[in-house]
């Protein structure tokens, strides 16, 4: 079937994207539209002592200047974190207050204190520069490894010592005992660097208040418009849900950063009510660096024990997670249930204990970013495995194979139950494709050119398909993580799929249509995917955590089951056959073994004319379903990186990058490969190039592309991609998910290749030329001293 499951169909949405005809939030033009510009703090930590708006209010084009005190007086709620984590002593997490417009204190560079609404963007910005905010400066803390120190400046009054929670998972006593009895213990200390998501389209919002209807409409750059509406309604008291429509039209990349509801969207809605104007705000790139939720930012020490044969005995992990100045929507879950639960990796580990302290600092909020917790786990496990192999004098692939989980289901000591996988198969495919056997010759050849060549492995596993609602509810989640879908077959036989998933680059309009084409044998062009509008789609939890395939498409499959059953009933009735004998094939509904059939559109017409339906059947052909997964899904894979280093400059060139992934059933291999390309590019970015840097006082040093290194095409290699499929047994299509894998699996492969090449583990991400050169120099001087 050329357009069904497994077909390399070109993306339906690309025509409008590639011809500049996409419709993004900033393309929305409302009548009577005004523009917002925010007045932001340049200080990382200060008390707001005064706000003089008198000059700004008289500037040309200015409609209003609104501040935090006014917003607070109007009853707009504070921004919340939606996942409650309980500390190991039983106490709830310490969540500080986050006002959309600060009315008392500012806690990071970029914190907004006021907004100007004006007739044009330029007038709004000019007036915002004339708002005189006066501050009493307070000492600030920015560094992850300093904020929990005694005497560090306090970010929030109700989080003593800046501690948000002190949480643990696993058995501390058993792990300590196992490590004490181990033949060898490998220790590691590492930092998972803070990165900025940088979607190509910056965040944007257009809010309109309709006074006659007392109704709000918000166009915004959201990965989950229904969740946005829920939160805006239930917690921020903007408007009840039936008086608030949220539309996320074409969205140009999210990577996690567009899951959350930010101060700007809330402020635009409120300001549209205050000014009776449509209010638009579009972030510029500097604002994006300052205020989009960042990712990662962990400092970790860990120990892994091995018995004399090289089998893992225990793994003990101690992590500090920097959550920034405020707790963003999912921030608390990222370094806990999306991190510690994956610390078993692909390995049999009898004992694991992980302690996580989450901390406030005077920096931008940190939340989920492509991978969210799982890249941090994968980086830690795969760095320490590589280090252990070197210490034990074993081949790093052999050490991994010795410890691979072989049978499924497999219950780890950290909650998860892996349902399927073939880790040796992943490794086999990757090693063959990367020609590992030929590496020594390539290394020798590189040496003859004065270059250092290294090879690094990463065997990642992740949990996606977020998530079984009951399970996450018991762990503190404030929402259920099911998905919903509606399948509408029209009287002419065309099909509309309404989905709660949201596409912001994933190609849902193509892959979701492919499963319909596959099921009914109808042309791809006769299927339309509707998403991103709370007035059109019944409900949905949106797209993140590689969930739209495993959860979103499962909901569609479930709704298709119901439509199929009704089609069969109608056809059986009209063709005077038994329902069990009806088959749907190639867009026709037939009685098996006969020439009796209905054309596809005849069934649609029959359902809507209702002239001849079975007794008691309702007219129409439209069915909905909510799908709640029974387990997470577990994509896995082996990545192999081969790098060459110029010892004179420290420059790292990636010569080969091989990915062998197990994503379960693949709907569209071309789109899946695109996801791997993009994910690996982001992982390489984190490993070699990207880092958000704050100075000691909390000033952002990487506020533009002049200082923040985004990967460019010439920084990246060509990829070799292999698939090793084991089907997920827990959802109807057997899908595991592929959106985050590349970003999760690639950083340790790159860094392990570098440490292999330079002979020292003493290197941090991003492994910039300066850092690699310094590590080589330190290695040389250490050797000279010995």
């Amino acid at each position: 079937m050329s357009e069904g499951i497994g077909a390399r169909v070109k993306r339906k949405e690309d025509k409008r994207f590639l011809t500049g005809k996409g419709k993004y939030t900033d393309d929305v033009r409302m009548e009577n539209q005004a523009y917002a510009a925010f007045v932001r703090s340049h200080h990382a930590h200060a008390k707001l002592t005064g706000l003089d708006t008198s000059v700004a209010e008289r500037m040309p084009g200015v409609i209003a200047v609104l501040d935090g005190q006014e917003m607070t007086a109007d009853g707009i709620g504070s921004i919340i974190c939606g996942w409650a984590i309980t500390s190991k002593d039983g106490s709830p997490m310490n969540m500080g207050t986050w006002r959309p417009l600060a009315d008392d204190k500012v806690r990071y560079v970029g914190d907004a204190v006021a907004v100007v609404i004006a007739e044009s963007p330029g007038e709004a910005r000019a007036a915002a520069e004339k708002v005189e905010a006066t501050f009493e400066l307070l000492p600030a803390v920015a560094a992850t490894d300093e904020t929990l120190n005694p005497g560090a400046p306090q970010v929030h009054e109700n989080a003593p010592g800046n501690l948000i929670y002190d949480w643990e998972l696993g058995d501390a006593g058993a792990t300590d005992t196992a490590l004490a009895g181990s033949a060898h213990v490998t220790e590691i200390e590492l930092t998972n660097n803070r990165v900025s998501p940088n979607p190509m389209e910056p965040r944007s919002a257009v809010a309109t208040y309709d006074e006659a209807e007392d109704h709000y409409t918000l166009y915004t750059t959201s990965q989950n418009p229904h969740v946005a509406r829920l939160v805006l309604s239930a917690f921020y008291q903007v408007a009840p849900e039936h008086k608030l429509r949220v539309i996320a039209p074409d969205v140009g990349g999210g990577f996690g950063a567009k899951i959350y509801i930010y101060p700007e969207e809330i402020t635009c809605l409120w300001a549209s009510m205050k000014t009776k104007r449509s209010v638009k705000w579009t972030s510029d790139r500097n604002e994006a660096f300052m205020t989009d939720a960042h990712g990662r930012d962990h400092v970790t020490t860990a120990k892994m024990g091995f018995d004399a044969s090289g089998k893992i005995t225990g793994f003990k992990v101690d992590t500090i997670a920097n959550l920034g100045a405020y707790m963003s929507l999912f921030s608390s879950a990222v370094p806990t249930y999306l991190y510690a639960t994956l610390l078993s990796g692909q390995y049999n580990m009898p004992n694991i204990h992980c302690n996580v302290r989450a901390a406030y600092t005077n920096t931008a909020p940190v939340d989920a970013y492509r991978g969210a917790g799982r890249p941090e786990a994968s980086y830690l496990i795969e760095r320490i495995m590589e280090k252990a192999a070197r210490e034990l004098g074993m081949d790093p692939a052999d050490l991994r194979r010795k410890n691979f989980i072989q049978s499924f289901p497999h219950e780890t000591p950290v909650i998860m139950t892996y349902d399927a996988g073939d880790f040796d198969g992943n490794m086999d495919k990757a090693q063959a494709a990367a020609d590992v056997a030929g590496f020594p010759a390539r290394k020798a050849e590189a040496a003859s050119r004065g270059k250092l060549r290294g090879l690094g492995y990463s065997c990642y596993i992740e949990a996606c398909g977020l998530a079984p609602s009951k399970a996450v509810g018991s762990l503190g989640a404030g929402v259920g993580l099911w998905e919903s879908a509606e399948v509408r077959m029209n009287p002419v036989g065309t099909i509309e799929i309404l989905t709660g998933s949201h596409s912001h680059g994933q190609g849902h309009e193509t892959t979701f249509a492919q499963i319909v084409a596959d099921r009914f044998g109808v042309p791809l062009d006769s299927v339309k995917i509707v998403h991103g509008d709370t007035d059109q789609v019944q409900f949905g939890m949106g797209t993140y955590g590689s969930r739209s395939g495993a959860v979103g498409m499962s909901a569609i499959a479930k709704a298709m089951d119901k439509v199929e059953a009704k089609i069969k009933k109608i056809a059986a009735h009209q063709l005077e056959a038994s329902e069990d004998d009806i088959v749907i094939e190639g867009g026709e509904v037939k009685v098996a073994g006969t020439d009796k059939k209905m054309l596809w559109h005849e069934v649609g017409l029959a359902a809507y004319t209702a002239h001849n339906l079975p007794e008691g059947m309702e007219p129409g052909l439209k069915e909905g379903a909510f799908y709640d997964p029974v387990n997470f899904t577990f994509p896995s894979g082996t990545y192999i990186a081969e790098v060459e280093i110029d010892p004179e400059t420290g420059t790292v060139e990636i010569c080969q990058f091989t990915a062998a992934d197990d994503f379960g059933t693949i709907i569209n291999p071309m789109i899946v490969e695109g996801q791997v390309h993009g994910g690996v590019a982001q992982g390489i970015g984190q490993a070699l190039l990207e880092e958000v840097v704050y100075d000691k006082q909390g000033h952002l040093m990487t506020g533009s592309y002049m200082d923040y290194t985004m990967p460019r095409a010439d920084d990246l290699p060509f990829y070799t991609i292999e698939h090793n499929t084991t089907v997920c047994p827990n959802n109807p299509l057997g899908i595991k998910g592929c959106g985050e894998a590349g970003a999760i699996g690639s950083p340790p492969a790159i860094i392990n290749a570098i440490t292999d090449a330079i002979g020292t583990e003493d290197i941090s991400m991003p492994a910039t030329p300066q850092r690699v050169w310094a590590a080589l120099r330190k290695g040389a001087s250490d050797m000279a001293a010995e």
Partner: protein, 263 residues
């Protein structure tokens, strides 16, 4: 962007006059630095005087000397058969500035006047011992570049061209900043009958400079090996999140070696 008043000058003299009558005017050459800076609201000139119609573009050759009009773009320098024949290292340098958009709009006069401490052209001008020609005088490169973002240009003075004479051998090697792709260390070496000049951009804490130690060593032995023995001090090198002084000093040596090898 703040409000500004746009003027189009018909000649260098006209530009100087228009600049003189503006409250806080600036010359607009290719605009590849100035316009982004204005968009960021970090520069707010009252008036912009555009040189694109001032007849300052074009390359002429007289024996071993090239005269390059101030408004000649990097792409024109890179693709000029005359430049490629007379001073190939200069064409090569121009081909490596910024990205295609920058090379097709950015100009040699704009780059030299801005004297960005990480720009490529200042290294070539200093390395080649160029003469900067303005509407009122000629200035040798040593006197022209007076420190980071600073030149000998006076108020209202407009660069009209630069004159460069071919050395026997020359080359430019740069190590780009990973983020901005400006030079973190760019070294232009030129060997002439009069000696060797080594000009360094991107690395120094006060803009482009000549490295005496490297010049002396290369004057007696113009080889990459001769660079190894020369101490390059980390003092007075730039220090930022991409590289400290020691790293930049290392890059200066490595780029000097690679330039000598390529020359």
């Amino acid at each position: 962007m703040h409000q500004t008043t746009y003027h189009k000058a018909s000649s260098a003299e006209d530009a100087a006059a228009k600049l003189g009558s503006a409250e806080d005017g600036m010359i607009l050459a290719g605009g590849q630095t100035l316009l982004p800076t204005m968009k960021q609201r970090l520069a707010a000139p009252s008036d912009l005087v555009d040189l694109s119609g001032a007849g300052l573009s074009g390359i002429s050759v007289d024996g071993n000397t090239l005269t390059i009009g101030a408004m000649t773009t990097h792409a024109e320098v890179a693709s000029s058969a005359d430049v490629q024949r007379v001073i190939p290292s200069l064409a090569c340098l121009a081909a490596g500035i910024g990205d295609p958009a920058v090379r097709n709009r950015g100009t040699i006069g704009g780059s030299v006047a801005n004297n960005d401490p990480a720009a490529d052209y200042p290294a070539a001008m200093l390395g080649l011992g160029a003469t900067i020609v303005t509407n009122s005088r000629e200035i040798v490169a040593e006197d022209f570049f007076t420190g980071m973002f600073s030149t000998d240009l006076e108020e209202g003075e407009v660069i009209t061209s630069v004159k460069v004479t071919a050395p026997e051998r020359s080359a430019y090697a740069k190590f780009p900043n990973p983020a901005s792709r400006y030079a973190m260390a760019g070294v232009f070496v030129a060997k002439s009958a009069g000696g060797v000049r080594v000009a360094v951009t991107g690395a120094g804490d006060d803009g482009v400079f000549r490295h005496e130690g490297l010049e002396t060593a290369l004057a007696s032995d113009f080889s990459a090996g001769a660079v190894d023995a020369v101490p390059v001090s980390a003092d007075s090198m730039l220090h930022d999140i991409h590289g400290d002084g020691a790293y930049r000093a290392q890059l200066v040596k490595v780029m000097a070696k690679r330039a000598v090898e390529a020359a």
